[in-house]
């Protein structure tokens, strides 16, 4: 398998949970070195798709390859998912987070983490449970970007973030994503990530309904937000 071809290759992915069909027959291929927006309404399955790719969800049909790797343990080494901190002791301090990550993930770069934490204005001595929601999101981002992976998955990273913090986070993403890596950001406020995107993938009705280059959409004089909303025919949604 040529490692340099695709960051992500999904074929015929279907997934049920709690007797509900969440994703059906998803096919998606993403090249290396791109920033991809994963767009969909609340509950459309964006998080589930990321969980399946990362390995949090495992009971699926179809195939998932990341950087040419299919088997779960190795595949996990190619992916950095923003939810990978779930289960950390809330009493730990920001500084301790780096130690734990280093112990468990060979590709974690503490030096990068310290720089990112500084850029994002995170106090090394603060306990996780004392961090505001915004700061917790920043910490998640710092941890996610401090790993050297082929595929980064950011699930709603700007949820509840103010404008200035968002700018710092966007800057961090641009600065710390390795050149050949692909970054997938899910968001249901498109304008947050608009100018970073190489392409967008729209999830609706349990599957991928569209995959389009950002420039192609704009060349037609349409904003990505309008493009996304066109799938909902003007319905009101969050």
């Amino acid at each position: 398998m040529n490692r340099m071809t695709e960051a992500l290759a999904i074929q015929g992915l279907s997934y049920r949970r709690n007797q509900k069909q969440i994703l059906k027959d998803v096919n998606l291929t993403l090249p290396t070195g791109q920033i991809v927006g994963l767009l969909g309404a609340n509950g459309a399955g964006k998080t589930t798709l990321m969980r399946l790719i990362a390995g949090s969800a495992i009971n699926f049909r179809g195939t998932i390859d990341v950087a040419g790797v299919t088997k779960a343990p190795q595949r996990k080494g190619q992916i950095s998912f923003s939810a990978q901190m779930a289960g950390f002791n809330p009493n730990w301090r920001v500084g301790q987070v780096a130690d734990v990550m280093t112990a468990l993930f060979p590709d974690f770069r503490t030096a990068d983490f310290l720089q990112l934490a500084q850029l994002l204005d995170l106090d090394q001595k603060q306990r996780i449970k004392r961090l505001s929601k915004g700061n917790q999101r920043k910490l998640q981002l710092a941890v996610t970007l401090s790993r050297r992976a082929a595929l980064y998955l950011l699930d709603e990273p700007f949820d509840g973030i103010d404008v200035m913090t968002r700018k710092a986070m966007l800057s961090s993403i641009l600065r710390w994503t390795p050149e050949q890596a692909t970054l997938v950001i899910s968001d249901h406020h498109v304008s947050d990530i608009d100018q970073l995107l190489d392409q967008v993938v729209v999830i609706k009705d349990q599957t991928v309904v569209a995959q389009e280059a950002a420039d192609t959409i704009r060349a037609k004089g349409q904003s990505i937000e309008a493009y996304f909303e066109s799938f909902y025919g003007g319905e009101q949604h969050d």
Binding site: N18, Q19, G43, G45, P73
Partner: protein, 266 residues
């Protein structure tokens, strides 16, 4: 790829730290008891009695804490997203609980021993040989492993079932599932021992060939003959159970058990 030893050490570090906090509480209680003794409010026997009791409580609370730590490993992203094979994750966690338990017991036993010696009681050190004590210890450790394995099986079955069935909001339904899966596990264990008994009968591993005469039948284990050999035979049986059920757990873990969903939009 992360190595099993790295995962084991991180798990053990965290669990030992947690258990040490419990030990500190125990020592605190003992300190209070000693002060009360020095003030003449209670007798030495009272001190010994209460502190032994509290030592037992500490061990039990430690056990529950470890069970929780273990459950976390199956259903939290911080463990399941580590680039390591699921069976290695399972082994690391199970061994880590074993190591932590040994640590806890050793410390509590040492504390109790110190108390006994200080109080002036000569204690009843029977003439049990070292081999016997060691054999019993090994058996107890293996039984502990079996207990951890069964608890893991519980957790995994519960997670699998709640993920499979719709709308598991009601707490009572969860209780029913727990109850049912405990029954299922016990039945599995029962079948296992019956099967083993049949196997032993069929292959002719009788007591005579092992310097023991232990029989396994529907009523359980009946021991005759040399106690030591019996001990080791039962240790072997339990160890086999640990390995088999452990393999089952690994299979369930890598095929069915998913992590909890974090509260972001689906």
């Amino acid at each position: 790829m992360t190595s099993m030893s790295k995962v084991f050490w991180q798990m053990t570090k965290e669990r030992v730290r947690q258990v040490t906090q419990l030990i500190e509480i125990d020592l605190g209680v003992i300190a209070v008891l000693v002060i009360m003794r020095l003030l003449g409010r209670i007798s030495t026997d009272d001190v010994l009695g209460f502190s032994t009791l509290f030592g037992l409580i500490t061990v039990m609370v430690g056990f529950i804490a470890q069970a929780q730590s273990q459950e976390q490993v199956w259903v939290q992203n911080r463990w399941r997203l580590v680039p390591i094979a699921d069976w290695k994750l399972y082994c690391a966690s199970t061994l880590s609980n074993l190591a932590t338990s040994v640590y806890l017991w050793a410390v509590i036993a040492a504390i109790t021993t110190v108390e006994v010696l200080v109080s002036g009681n000569k204690g009843n050190w029977s003439n049990t040989g070292f081999t016997m004590v060691a054999s019993v210890l090994v058996l107890v450790l293996v039984m502990l492993l079996l207990l951890w394995t069964l608890i893991s099986l519980e957790h995994m079955l519960i997670t699998m079932i709640t993920d499979f069935l719709p709308g598991m909001q009601e707490k009572w339904l969860r209780c029913v599932i727990i109850f049912a899966s405990i029954l299922v596990s016990l039945k599995l264990v029962d079948w296992f021992f019956s099967g083993l008994g049949w196997l032993i009968k069929v292959t002719g591993i009788t007591g005579a060939s092992l310097n023991s005469s232990m029989t396994i039948d529907g009523a359980g284990l009946t021991m005759h003959g040399t106690v030591l050999a019996d001990l080791w035979l039962s240790t072997g049986v339990f160890a086999a159970a640990v390995l088999l059920l452990g393999a089952l757990n690994c299979f369930l873990l890598s095929r069915w058990v998913e992590t909890k969903q974090t509260p972001t939009a689906v």
